[in-house]
Symmetry: C2
Subunit: 468 residues, 2 copies
C-alpha cells in the first residue's frame, strides 16, 4: 500500500446487475422504493440506464425508458446517475448518423444522466468521437472505455494508446470494461499501472465475475492506482454479475483505500433486493453462475450458451468443441476483435458455418462481409488478406469512420414516426427500434401497453420451500 | 511479486465444503466415483476426514467413518489425505485422556491420514500437545493451527508467539484457520508476513468465504509468503464454504505463483459435484450464502442463526439485536475466546441469559462456570475477576492443562463397549459418542443400520424447473 486514497464506488444494481442475472427485467416500481437509501450511501455514481435496459423497457416491460430515467433522477437527487452507451450505435443495433447521436446524448443529459460510459465493440475510437463531444457539450462526465480482450496485439501498450486518444478526445475518466470476465488479477495490475503511468485520469474497473476473479482483479487494480470500482449489491452480485458491494467495501475498510461506505446501510439495501429478486424467479438461469470456462477457452459465457442453442436447433450439438476451437481462428482472421455485441455474434455465427459446412468460409455471412469492408470500423489488427479478398472481391474497403457515410437522419425519423411521437425523446425511442419503438408508441397512444406477465411469486416460494 | 514459487492447494471438497454447505451429508458412495480424477489433479492434499464428518457418518449416514477413510485411502493412492482434529477433544465434545488421544491419532494414521491439522478453540497449545506428539510418533505431518479471531489481544504478535510454540512442539506447518470469515485481505497480509518473518515453516490459509473475502485474503496471503491455500471445487464453493479451486487456480495461472493444476480437469470434477449436490437438496440453507454481517458485528454466521433459533423458541426474537450487542461484552468478560465450537455456544448462550433475564449474569451457565475454572484451558486474555468470583466463589481455578486431571480411560472404554467393538477403531468410535456410538455398533451387529432418508432427486428437479 504505497499511497492512501479513498476508493470510489459505482453500484450497478439498477442496470448491469439485473441485466446480467435476470435478463434486464427489473421494473422501475422495484427500484423507486429503495432509492432513498441508495441515495444516502455516498456512491460516486449509480449506473441506472443504457446497455440493454432501454430495449428491455420497450420490448418486455412496456415502460417508457425516458420516464424511468426522470423518475430515478427525481428519486436520487444526491447521486450521479450513469449510463452505458454503445458509441455510434447508441442503444440500438446499427450505426446512427451524427445528428441522432447528438440528439440522444443531449436528451439523456437533460433527463438526468451525469456520467456517460461510451464504448465501441472494436475499440475504434472514431466510433466514440461524436458521442464524447456531445457529452462534453452537455457539460457532463465523459468516460472513455476500453473493451478488454486478450490477443497477441492487445498489450497494455495498445490499451494505453487507446486511452491517450480518448483523453485527447476529452475523456474525464477511463473505464476498463471486462464484459466476459477475462481479466486476471496480475494482468489487471499491469494494465492499470500502465494506464496510470501515462495518464492523469481516474481509472475505473468494470469486470464481470464470470470466472470468479473480478473481486481479485479490482483489489490488484486498486493497488496499481485505480480510483474506482464497479460493484453490485450482494443480492444481485457474483457470477456473470459483479463483485458484491459489501464484500469489496469490507475488504478495503480500515485500510488506506477505505471507501467510507456504511456496511449496515448496504446490508439493508441487500435485504431489499433479495426480496425483489424472488419476484423475477422465472428469469434466473444456470448460465449466470460462476464458471471458469472463459479462462480456459477465452470464449465469453453468454456466447457459449448462445452457440449451444444455435447448434442444438440444427441437431449439431456434438460439434460444439469444434466450434469452440474454430472461434479463436475466426477471431484471428478478423484481426482479433473483442467478443462483445455485435462482434461476438459475427465471429460465433461464422465459426458455426465453418464447422458445419466442413470447409472454412465456404459460406461467408453478410456480417463478416460487412466487417471486412470496414463497416463496423477498424479491426484491432490486420485481417486475413486472402479471406478479405474472398469475401468482398474487388469491392473497396472503407477505411473511414463508418458513420461518415451516413447522412443526417433525424428529420426523416421525425417524419416517419409522425404524431405518435409526443416528444423528441419519443423520436429517439423510435430511432433505436424502428418496429418495436413504433409498436410501443402506438400501444401507448391506444392505452394498450401491457408488460409481459410474471409468474406468481407464490409458485417460486413454493418451489424454494420444496427444495429447502 | 517479489519471489517466484508454486502455490500448493488443499481441496476440502470431501470434508469442509460439504460440511459447510449441506450439513456434512455427502456419502462415501458419492466420493468414490470421482476419486480417480481427484487423484490426478496434483493437489498437495485432500481434506477428507475429521471435523464433523465422523459425527455425521455415525449419526445420520450410518457409515463406519473408519471404513470411509480406508476406502478413500485406497481410491486416492497418490494424494496426501488430511484431517481436522480438535486437539484434546479429538472429534468428540469433551477432553479425552491422553491414552485415547494417542490411540486415536495412531489409528487415524494407520487407516490412511497423512496430514493432521490440529487446533484448540482457545488456542491453548497445551491442548494440542498430546495429539501433535502422537502425529510425530506416527511419522505423519503435524499441522499446528491458529484459530483466527479479532480482539485487542489478538495481534499478529500473539499469533506468532503461538506459532513458534507450535513449531517447538514439532509442527511441520502452520495453518491459519478463519472459521468465521473474519479475515480481511490486508489483515491477512500482515499476519502471514509476521509469521513468515519469524518462522521457517510453510503457512496455509483456511478461510471461509462467509463475507466473500476469502479469495482476496488468500491472494494477499500468497503475496506475503503463504505457501498453500485451502479451496473447494466450485460446485461446493463460496459463501460459508471456501474460495473456488478453479477461480484461485485461474487467478494465479501464468504468474510466479502458478499452482500448475489443470483447469479442464478441475472443471470436469466440478461438473461431477454439481450433479451430486442436487441429491442433497434438502440440506441446502439460505444461511450458507455470502453475507457481510460477520464483518459488521464479528459474530460468526452459524452462531447468528443458532441464536435466532434459540430466541425464536422462547418467543424473544425481538431481543436479537440486544443479544448481538451483548456477545462482545460476554466475550470480553471471558478473555476474548475465539468463537468456535464449543466457545461460540458458551458465549452465545450466556449472552441470551444476560439479555432475557434483564440482568447480566443473574444466571451463569455451567459451561461458563467450567470455563472460568479453567476447564477448557487458558483464556487468551485475563477474564473479568469479579465475574469469576461470582461464578465460582472460593473454588480454585485450575491453571494446568485440563487433560492432566484425566486418568487413562481407554481400558474402561474397551470394557464398557465390550463385544460390540470388533476392533480398536470401534472402541474409539464409542469413545467419541458414548450413546450414539454404542447404538451404531449395536445396529451394525444387528444388521439394522439405516441411513436417514433423502428426498427424491426428482422432487428437487421439479422444483428447480418450476423456478427456471
Ligand atoms: Co458490464
Ligand atoms: Co473450516
Amino acid at each position: 500500500m504505497n499511497q492512501a486514497k479513498k476508493i470510489e464506488v459505482t453500484d450497478v444494481i439498477l442496470r448491469d446487475a439485473h441485466q446480467s442475472l435476470i435478463a434486464t427485467r427489473m421494473r422501475t416500481e422495484d427500484m423507486l422504493p429503495i432509492c432513498e437509501k441508495l441515495d444516502q450511501v455516498g456512491y460516486w455514481s449509480l449506473e441506472v440506464w443504457g446497455g440493454a435496459t432501454f430495449d428491455a423497457c420497450v420490448r418486455f416491460l412496456k415502460e417508457d425508458p425516458w420516464e424511468r430515467l426522470r423518475q430515478l433522477r427525481a428519486a436520487l437527487p444526491n447521486t450521479r446517475l450513469q449510463m452505458l452507451l454503445r458509441g455510434q450505435n447508441l442503444l440500438g443495433y446499427r450505426h446512427y448518423a451524427d445528428d441522432v447521436v447528438e440528439a440522444f446524448v443531449a436528451k439523456a443529459a437533460k433527463n438526468g444522466i451525469d456520467v456517460f460510459r461510451v464504448f465501441d465493440a472494436l475499440n475504434d475510437i472514431r466510433n466514440l468521437e461524436t458521442a464524447m463531444k456531445a457529452v462534453k457539450k452537455a457539460g457532463k462526465h465523459a468516460q472513455g472505455t476500453i473493451c478488454y480482450t486478450t490477443s497477441p496485439v492487445h498489450t497494455p501498450g495498445l490499451f494505453v494508446k487507446q486511452a491517450i486518444a480518448m483523453r485527447d478526445m476529452g475523456a474525464d475518466s477511463i473505464a476498463i470494461k471486462d464484459m466476459a470476465g477475462l481479466l486476471t488479477p496480475y494482468a489487471t495490475y499491469d494494465l492499470v499501472a500502465a494506464l496510470k503511468a501515462e495518464l492523469d485520469l481516474p481509472v475505473v474497473v468494470h469486470s464481470h465475475s464470470t470466472a470468479g476473479l473480478a473481486p481479485l482483479c479490482q483489489l490488484k487494480a486498486i493497488e496499481a492506482g485505480a480510483d474506482r470500482i464497479d460493484t453490485a449489491i450482494s443480492s444481485f452480485a457474483n457470477g456473470t454479475s459483479h463483485p458484491a458491494t459489501e464484500g469489496q467495501v469490507a475488504a478495503l475498510r480500515g485500510t488506506a483505500y477505505d471507501t467510507g461506505l456504511d456496511l449496515e446501510l448496504l446490508a439493508e439495501i441487500a435485504d431489499y433486493f433479495r426480496e425483489v429478486r424472488k419476484k423475477y424467479h422465472q428469469f434466473e438461469s444456470e448460465f449466470t453462475r460462476e464458471d471458469v470456462s472463459v479462462q480456459i477457452n477465452q470464449v465469453p459465457g453468454g456466447m457459449m450458451s448462445n452457440l449451444a442453442n444455435q447448434l442444438k436447433e440444427q441437431n449439431a450439438l456434438d460439434k460444439i468443441r469444434e466450434v469452440f476451437a474454430e472461434i479463436p481462428r475466426v477471431r484471428k482472421d478478423l484481426g482479433y476483435p473483442p467478443l462483445v455485441t455485435p462482434t461476438s455474434q459475427i465471429v460465433g455465427t461464422q465459426a458455426v458455418y465453418n464447422v458445419l459446412a466442413g470447409e472454412r468460409y465456404k459460406t461467408i455471412t453478410n456480417e463478416v462481409k460487412r466487417y471486412l469492408q470496414g463497416g463496423y470500423g477498424a479491426a484491432p489488427a490486420e485481417v486475413d488478406a486472402q479471406l478479405q479478398k474472398k469475401a468482398i472481391g474487388n469491392e473497396s474497403v472503407d477505411v473511414g469512420r463508418p458513420a461518415d457515410l451516413l447522412k443526417p437522419e433525424l428529420n426523416k425519423l421525425r417524419e416517419d414516426i409522425g404524431d405518435l411521437a409526443l416528444t423528441e425523446e419519443d423520436v429517439l425511442t423510435f430511432a433505436m427500434f424502428p418496429d418495436l419503438g413504433r409498436e410501443f408508441l402506438q400501444q401507448r397512444a391506444e392505452g394498450t401497453l401491457k408488460p409481459e406477465e410474471l409468474l406468481p411469486p407464490d409458485a417460486a416460494k413454493g418451489a424454494k420451500l420444496g427444495q429447502a
